[in-house]
Symmetry: C2
Subunit: 401 residues, 2 copies
């Protein structure tokens, strides 16, 4: 067959490999201190608990763990999720990681040209999943406290299929939406008839501050909630879930059935065997203890090594710090120099659906040990300073120094 | 939020629950002898081998099995698949079951209104997956030997994104495409520039006859091949794979990254640990031994219990027998009476993309023990005979008897 005969779909023609994916390839060299990855630290994986769970599973119910299973997910796991969130298990759908939840949302809500509201910036993987259905994005502005609810005007909301938001320790900014903004966002969305999609993979990784109510808890009928076990158990299990009002849940189940029939029975049962022991709370506390120290180490290193004119977020949880450099610096270009200096990050531009801010970048702090964080941020700080010197007239540099 | 505010996508509005799904709900009562399910027999699952694999995995590489992993799949598993098929591992993509492969095909090839060629009848799950991308189906006629290659004319082929076919022990018919037809199909597809998609979940479940070459082996550049571990290891692992030419592989990987990032590392490693022991060939032989006896039992029961005027396929492998009743009988209506008589099957109509033949039905023979097969087919035969009596004038009934 001649390759000219292959006719891809419009969406496939538009597909390009993710920038993060290409960056991660660059940063696989062991000598690089990489703040680029979005991986949790492997030392947090509850290996012994998972091993014990596997042993129980083979002792008790191996056939059920290996057979086809209902699309909605393993009933005891759905019940566990339902109790955690105070909902009916009939509204819980288990997904093959949170990424699949994004794919199902696209399938159920997005036609070519449909208006979809996203934060600026937002999670790159969500943009990838939604874009397969060819939406027309509209960006909702954010500031240091996250999404600005007053920006959700009647004009912005008109015809939107949904607003996608990550209220807790957002990827990529690390920001958490304050209580007053949560209330206002939910009130405005309800008034304007905008469905909210609340993605919450990081909410339990909280190192300081008080817990805040989910958007879903403020208005269950108007919010689809996405949870994940990737950051609190292990991402290699690929387990997430969605809470949705009944009419939406039914469509999501049908879309999931067409997508992969069901999430592996085996991983669902292993996870449930671990969760039912009640170990999750103490496990999360130990993860938070570790990550909180990493976060503090990076914030401290940034304050000592970054030249004047550089701003960054001060997360109370999650995995990421968002850095804003002086406007003249393009972080995509800076990355090449950084990799040459054996330090890596993710440029901020790909996290914007429409209008990139090219002077931003994302740092992940969870997998690099604190002394390496110090070393990597020192290198990055020098690099930024030298780029600023190269860009600016001599007296301006003096002012920056 | 008012439910009137929810605006689903066009494809979601068209979604309805699968008929098979609804039938399976009906047949969950233990007193029903169900030939409806498409499940493999749980007694074939290699539980001891999988348990040993889990133990090795926790002893050797637990962190890698629990961490994020490349979208393409676990490299040693890709290599195992590549060696089995004599291809380069760079052309292998591991999928979350075969169903995901169908979803990825839809994403990469189908725009709304795209022409897609399917066998009549074909696998219902493929129609579900493709339909989310709103194709315009064209049916390729089949007969007792499967797809009719001479039907693939220039007119039929014009503009088709691909032709989807299941050459081995097809779901739902159990038919296997003979060698000469394979050669002619591949030659015509090459000449007309039609991409072939060869779905082969059942090919290794062969109870008689000689092996036949895959379409892929006859023209690797013009065929996307889909394999599955669901029928030879265990479906609860949700593991399948695709072989595709490089340009197509790259698009499939990007679509998969947006769909679920990657198939669970954990299940991929467990499966590879089993496969590398070399146990698969002898395991498949034992599965074939069991299923072959079931198949023979059902064929024998059909020949004794079905009234004149009923035809059925005589599979050399797989899981299904396809039954064609006299034209006056609608199997959807027959199913209600069958469930009342405590026997179940799947009506044939949903397996047709466009023009259903309402007098057909699918019987699965692998999960019901032989003496229950006898009992169930006897009940079904009586039911068909009584429906024929009710439909026909008295003298015609006499002739049938």
């Amino acid at each position: 067959m001649n390759s000219n005969d292959i006719q891809f779909s419009r969406r496939a023609q538009a597909l390009t490999s993710s920038v993060i994916r290409e960056v991660l390839k660059l940063t696989e060299k062991p000598e690089i201190i990489s703040f680029a990855g979005g991986l949790p630290s492997a030392q947090t994986f509850p290996v012994a608990a998972l091993q014990a769970a596997c042993e129980r599973l083979f002792a008790d119910s191996p056939a059920a763990a290996l057979q086809y299973a209902p699309t909605e997910g393993l009933q005891p796991l759905r019940q566990w999720v339902a109790e955690k969130h105070g909902v009916d298990s009939a509204n819980v759908l288990i997904t093959t990681g949170s990424q699949q939840a994004l794919d199902l949302l696209a399938k159920v809500f997005i036609d070519p040209g449909s208006k979809v509201l996203v934060e600026a910036p937002t999670y790159l993987g969500a943009l990838q999943a939604f874009s397969l259905s060819e939406p027309a994005y509209t960006e909702v502005p954010t500031d240091d406290q996250g999404l600005q609810p007053e920006a959700l005007t009647e004009t912005l909301a008109a015809g939107a299929r949904f607003l996608y938001t990550i209220p807790n320790f957002q990827n990529p900014t690390g920001r958490r939406l304050p209580l007053e903004r949560r209330k206002e966002l939910v009130a405005r969305a309800r008034e304007l008839g905008v469905l909210l999609v609340e993605d919450n993979p990081y909410g339990e990784l909280r190192y300081s501050g008080s817990p805040l109510p989910s958007l879903h808890s403020l208005n269950p009928e108007g919010v689809i909630y996405m949870g994940s076990f990737s950051k609190v158990l292990a991402p290699g299990l690929r387990l997430g879930y969605m809470l949705a009002p009944p009419a939406i849940h039914a469509k999501l189940v049908q879309a999931k059935q067409a997508s992969d029939l069901h999430t592996p029975s085996f991983t669902q049962r292993v996870a449930y065997e671990v969760l039912k022991t009640g170990m999750l709370d103490s496990h999360i506390a130990s993860v938070c203890d570790l990550y909180g120290k990493h976060c503090a180490a990076m914030l401290d290193a940034l304050s000592r090594h970054m030249p004047e004119g550089v701003r960054w977020s001060r997360p109370e949880g999650g995995m990421f710090i968002w850095v804003e450099l002086p406007a003249a610096i393009d972080t995509m270009a800076l990355l090449e120099a950084a990799v040459a200096s054996n330090v890596a990050f993710v440029p901020g531009a790909p996290f914007y659906a429409i209008t990139p801010r090219n002077n931003t970048l994302r740092l992940a702090f969870v997998t690099v040990p604190p002394q390496k964080i110090e070393e990597g941020i020192a290198r990055l700080g020098e690099l930024v300073a030298s780029h600023l010197r190269a860009l600016q007239p001599a007296d301006a540099v003096a002012a920056v120094q």
